[in-house]
Amino acid sequence: MAFDKMELREVEVWDGNYAAAHAMRQAQIDVVAAYPITPSTPIVESYAQFLADGYIEGEFVMVESEHAAMSGCIGAAAAGGRVATATSSQGLALMSETLYQASGMRLPIVLNLVNRALASPLNVNGDHSDMYMIRDSGWIQFDAFCPQESYDLNLIAFKVAEDHDIRLPAIVNQDGFMTSHTAQGVHTLSDDVAYGFVGEYKPMNDMLDFEHPVTHGVQTEEDWHFEHKARQHNDLMTKVMPKIKEVFADFEKLTGRKYNPVEKYDMDDADVCVVCMGSSVETAREVATEMRAKGVKAGVVGLRVVRPLPFFEIAEALKGVKAIAALDRSSPNGAAGMLFNEIAGALFNTDTKALLSGYVYGLGGRDLTKAHLVALYNELQANADAGKVTTQLQQFIGVRGPKLAFL
C-alpha cells in the first residue's frame, strides 16, 4: 500500500472527534467532501491532516456549503468510492435535502453527526435536535455515548452500511462537546486489524464501470416512487437490525467490546428506569448505581441504534419495569418527545403495565446533573408506588423560572 501506517499505542487519549477521524483514516476512505461546522470540524480537519501527512490515499474536497458537502459525497459514492464526512446542527439542516438522495440511491456513506442545538437562538453546544430532525431520512443511525464508542461505531458503521444486502448510509451520532471534545482513554486497533475488520470496499453499480452504464437517482413519479420507499423501509425494518447484530458480534470477537442495539444497565430486576441517549447514559448509569445503594431498584436503558428503531429489544429491555422516564434532549415543539412517543410505540400491544412519563432536558448544552437524575428516579419510584403517574406526563428538567409541565 502506498500510504504510511500509523503506530498507535494500545490506549490513546482521544476525544470523540479525533477517535472518529482515526476510524475514518483506518477505513482508508477515498473521498471526504466537507464544510466545517462546530463542534464536528476537528473530524474532517484531522482527516485532512492525515491525508497531507501521507497516511491516507484519498481526496479531500473543500466545498462551499454543507449542501454541497453531502452532494459531493453522493457523487463520489455513486462513482464507486468509500466516502465519509462530518457535520452538526445547521450544517445537517442544510444537508437534509441531500440526505434523502443518499439513502434513496442506496449509497453507503458514513456521516459523523456531532449533535448540536438548532438555532434560533444560535448555540454551538450539544443537544439532539439535529439528530431528531433527520430521523426519517432513511439513514441507519448509531449513537455513541463516549469517545471509545465513537471510534468503534465508525468502524462498525462502514461494515454495516457497505454490506451488499444493506447498501444504506449510516450516521454515527455523538454529543457535541460532551463527547466530541472530552478526551478519554480509547482502546485502539492497529491499522491493519481495523482495515481488515472494515474490509476492502466493493462498490455496486458504480458509475466508473463503463461496461455497465447506469443512471443514478432516477425520476419515478407515481409509477414507482412508492415501491422504492417501501423497499427501503422494508430493508430497514427487516434486514438492517440482524446485520447490525452480526457486525456487533464480529466486533466483540475481535476486541472483546460488546455492543447491543439497546444497552441495558442494571435492568434485570429494575422497578424504575430512564431511557436516554448520548453522554447522558453514562451519567444515568452512575446515578442508578447510587440509587441502588439507597434501595431504589434503578436501571438505565441507552439507545445504541436509533434507526432502525429496535422495537423488540426496547420492549424486551423494559419488560417488568414499573415506571419509565423517556429523556428527550430536543424541544418537542408541540408534541410529546420523540423518545417518549417511540418508547410508547414499542410498548403498545405488549403486556407491560409500565407507567411512562417524558422529560425534556439539556437543550443547547444545559447540564443534566446527578441531582436532576436523583430527583427523577425518586419521582419514578413515587409513580411506581402509587401505581399511576403522579405528575403531568411531560416535564422540563433544569429550565429557569417557573416549572414547565404539560399533558
Binding site: 463503463f210 443514478h216 415501491e227 422504492h228
Partner: protein, 131 residues
C-alpha cells in the same frame, strides 16, 4: 404500468441503460445498441413539447453545433451529416436553433402542429446585415 412488485426491481433509484455488458459504446450507432427497457432511449417524452424544431437541410453546413448542444441528444447525425431531429425525445427547448450559425438558420422553432413541408417551402430569407 408494468406489473412489478415493490420487492422485484433493482434497488437504489437506479436504471441500467443496457441489457448486459457494453463495449465500444462510441463506435456503436444508437440503433445497434442493446438499450434496456428502462433506458430513456426507448421512452417517448414527446408529449412534453409545445413547439418543435424543423430542420432545413438546404442551408445546413453540418457544423454539428446543434448535435453538440442539444441537452437531450435529440439531433440525429450520421457520418457527420445532419439527418433530422429525434421527435420522440426532443423537448422543444430551442437550444439547437439558438446555436445554429447559418444565415438563414437551418433549424427554426414552429408550433407543434405546423406542417413541415410547407414551413420549409416558406423558409425565411437571408438576414441582411444592418448598415
Amino acid at each position: 404500468m408494468a406489473k412489478k412488485g415493490w420487492d422485484e426491481f433493482e434497488i437504489g433509484a437506479m436504471l441500467r441503460t443496457f441489457n448486459g455488458k457494453i463495449d465500444d459504446i462510441a463506435g456503436t450507432p444508437q440503433r445497434d445498441r442493446d438499450y434496456s427497457e428502462n433506458s430513456s432511449y426507448t421512452a417517448s417524452v414527446a408529449d412534453w413539447r409545445l413547439i418543435k424544431p424543423i430542420f432545413n437541410k438546404d442551408y445546413c453546413i453540418d457544423c454539428q453545433f446543434c448535435w453538440v448542444y442539444c441537452p437531450d441528444v435529440s439531433i440525429i447525425s450520421r457520418d457527420k451529416k445532419l439527418i433530422g431531429v429525434d421527435m420522440d425525445h426532443c423537448k422543444g427547448c430551442g437550444v439547437c436553433v439558438e446555436v445554429c450559425p447559418t444565415n438563414p438558420k437551418s433549424l427554426l422553432m414552429f408550433p407543434e402542429q405546423a406542417d413541415e413541408e410547407s414551413e420549409i417551402a416558406n423558409w425565411p430569407k437571408k438576414d441582411e446585415k444592418e448598415a
